[in-house]
């Protein structure tokens, strides 16, 4: 119940800072839209399909990627590294009877919901304009599995960013690391091109990293391009990454707070 209150309180904050949230959403919007424009031009010029992808599936993919970028890209690392660790706000969390991870999850969730809602609105506008060209799964059994994959994707993204933020306990400036993983996420999450269009070696690497489980598989699951037979493997991969990241988070949290020194508060 107390976490619900935290969630509701921060939900109000989210709306107080809706302009800031909208800018974050615009950031998530630009890249997929540009790439969609590129592919549209390429398909119209060549008039062909590419490894099973055509203009319609590509358009659905990138539009869903806008929602994924807005809903599944957790930004909690910035708050943890700069405010909690570098400015010392972490000390106030240490004396509260709350789980630090859960507290941060419920701080972040309202932002994901609002930005995800912006993404859904854009998707619906495109769907309204282009009609059945923008397709997603509509049968409930597949949709339920897709929602499960999305939720697991969000949790993987959350713990990944928690670890990244906590890395500031050991580094004076975590921005280099953050930029490195942002780029890795763009390439191996499927933001540049759908992962099955990558060269074989890079594709294998992409499928073994957590980024594909955060963005690519949730998008293809909801789009319907993910084969039903592959879903158990995807779920297994997601559970594996979630467990591994949670264990890593627990370990560095325990070690990290022993290192932490704060000023002021």
């Amino acid at each position: 119940m107390r976490y619900v209150r935290i969630f509701l309180l921060h939900f109000q904050d989210t709306f107080a800072e809706r302009a800031r949230s909208f800018v974050w959403f615009l950031i998530a919007l630009i890249n997929p839209l540009i790439l969609l424009l590129f592919w549209r031009g390429a398909f119209l010029e060549t008039g062909s399909t590419l490894a099973g992808w055509n203009l319609s599936t590509m358009a659905s993919y990138y539009l869903l990627l806008i929602i994924a970028g807005a809903f599944l890209s957790v930004h909690i690392d910035e708050k943890i590294a700069y405010y909690d660790i570098q400015e010392g706000a972490l000390s106030s969390y240490l004396i509260r009877p709350f789980s630090y991870a859960l507290w941060n999850f419920f701080i972040e969730l309202p932002y994901r919901i609002l930005q995800g809602a912006f993404g859904v609105a854009v998707f619906l506008i495109f769907r309204l304009i282009f009609g059945p060209m923008i397709a997603i799964r509509t049968d409930w059994p597949s949709l339920s599995l897709a929602i499960l994959i999305i939720v697991l994707g969000l949790l993987i993204s959350f713990f990944f960013k928690m670890i990244l933020g906590l890395s500031a306990l050991w580094t004076t400036d975590y921005s280099g690391l953050e930029q490195f993983f942002e780029v890795a996420g763009l390439i191996f999450g499927g933001f540049v091109i759908p992962l099955n269009l990558l060269p074989d070696g890079v594709q294998r690497l992409a499928f073994s990293l957590p980024f594909s489980y955060i963005y690519y598989f949730p998008v293809t699951a909801i789009q319907g391009t993910l084969a039903t037979a592959d879903i158990p493997n995807i779920l297994f991969g997601q559970i594996f990454w979630l467990a591994a990241l949670y264990a890593t988070y627990t370990l560095i949290w325990r070690r990290g707070i022993q290192k932490f020194t704060a000023v002021g508060q």
């Binding site: 302009a19 800031r20 800018v23 890249n31 540009i34 590419l50 400036d173 490195f180 390439i187």
Partner: protein
């Protein structure tokens, strides 16, 4: 003018001192700079892997556009980006007071205070990649076209700076919009693609994006000697008009600056 050059020389020295004092920061900045340079190239290589020509540009020409983008954005990040990143902080915490009190042009000080030397690596990377492409694909370039390219990169930088400054000035009214800088990073990424790609948009959207699409495309077209004179005029015209607009808008915005305590 000579006074401002002397001030900038001092700022360059001060920034070198900061760099030697915070070596770990410099290392992470170099890492991120090289990572983004690699990403620009790698993403275009992937996108064009299955197509030899798109929007009237051959694959090697699009790759060269990416190299030009790396040089241009590298210079921009080295000279300006860090300053824009602290823009909202200056306003939010009222630190702009100190800048406004100094007997130096405030736009100059907020634009040139910090220098990110780590971006030098991105510039070097871009130049190296451009040289490799010219050599590998036997791209015909003449000394005149190289000079034209360098001059227009300068004009493009002025245009890019003006657009960023206009947008960043909005933080006088909305100091919490610190992520507007991240937004501009994304918008600047649009320069990596051929201008012709954006013609797919409705004319009014295309017209709105036109200045951004000019910045890298026109210098590259000049280097390849396939430009139209109107394009160069367009780039120079936009740069001049938007630079003047950015100055006027800054002075107008300052009227609404109320410092942190008021």
């Amino acid at each position: 003018m000579a006074r401002y050059i002397r001030i900038y020389q001092t700022l360059l020295h001060l920034n070198i001192s900061a760099l030697t004092a915070y070596r770990a920061n410099f290392t992470t900045n170099v890492t991120s700079s090289i990572t983004w340079a690699l990403f620009s190239i790698f993403s275009i290589v992937l996108l064009t892997a299955r197509t030899s020509e798109v929007f009237g540009w051959r694959r090697e020409e699009i790759l060269f556009l990416t190299a030009a983008y790396s040089i241009l954005i590298g210079i921009f990040h080295m000279v300006f980006s860090k300053n824009f990143e602290r823009f909202s902080r200056l306003v939010y915490y009222g630190q702009l007071d100190g800048i406004l009190l100094k007997p130096v042009d405030s736009q100059f000080l907020v634009s040139f205070w910090l220098v990110n030397y780590a971006s030098l690596f991105r510039i070097i990377f871009g130049v190296g990649f451009a040289a490799y492409l010219i050599h590998q694909y036997h791209i015909p370039v003449s000394p005149v076209s190289v000079v034209g390219f360098i001059v227009l990169v300068g004009v493009g930088l002025l245009l890019l700076y003006s657009v960023w400054f206009l947008v960043a000035s909005l933080t006088i009214w909305y100091p919490r919009l610190s992520n507007i800088v991240q937004f501009m990073y994304s918008v600047s990424g649009m320069m990596r693609y051929p201008q012709e790609m954006y013609r797919q948009f409705a004319w009014y959207i295309f017209l709105f994006l036109l200045p951004i699409t000019f910045i890298a495309t026109i210098p590259v077209k000049v280097l390849f000697q396939r430009y139209v004179f109107v394009d160069i005029l367009g780039l120079a015209g936009f740069a001049l008009v938007l630079f003047v607009a950015s100055r006027k808008f800054w002075n107008y915005a300052l009227r609404f600056y109320t410092s942190a305590s008021s």
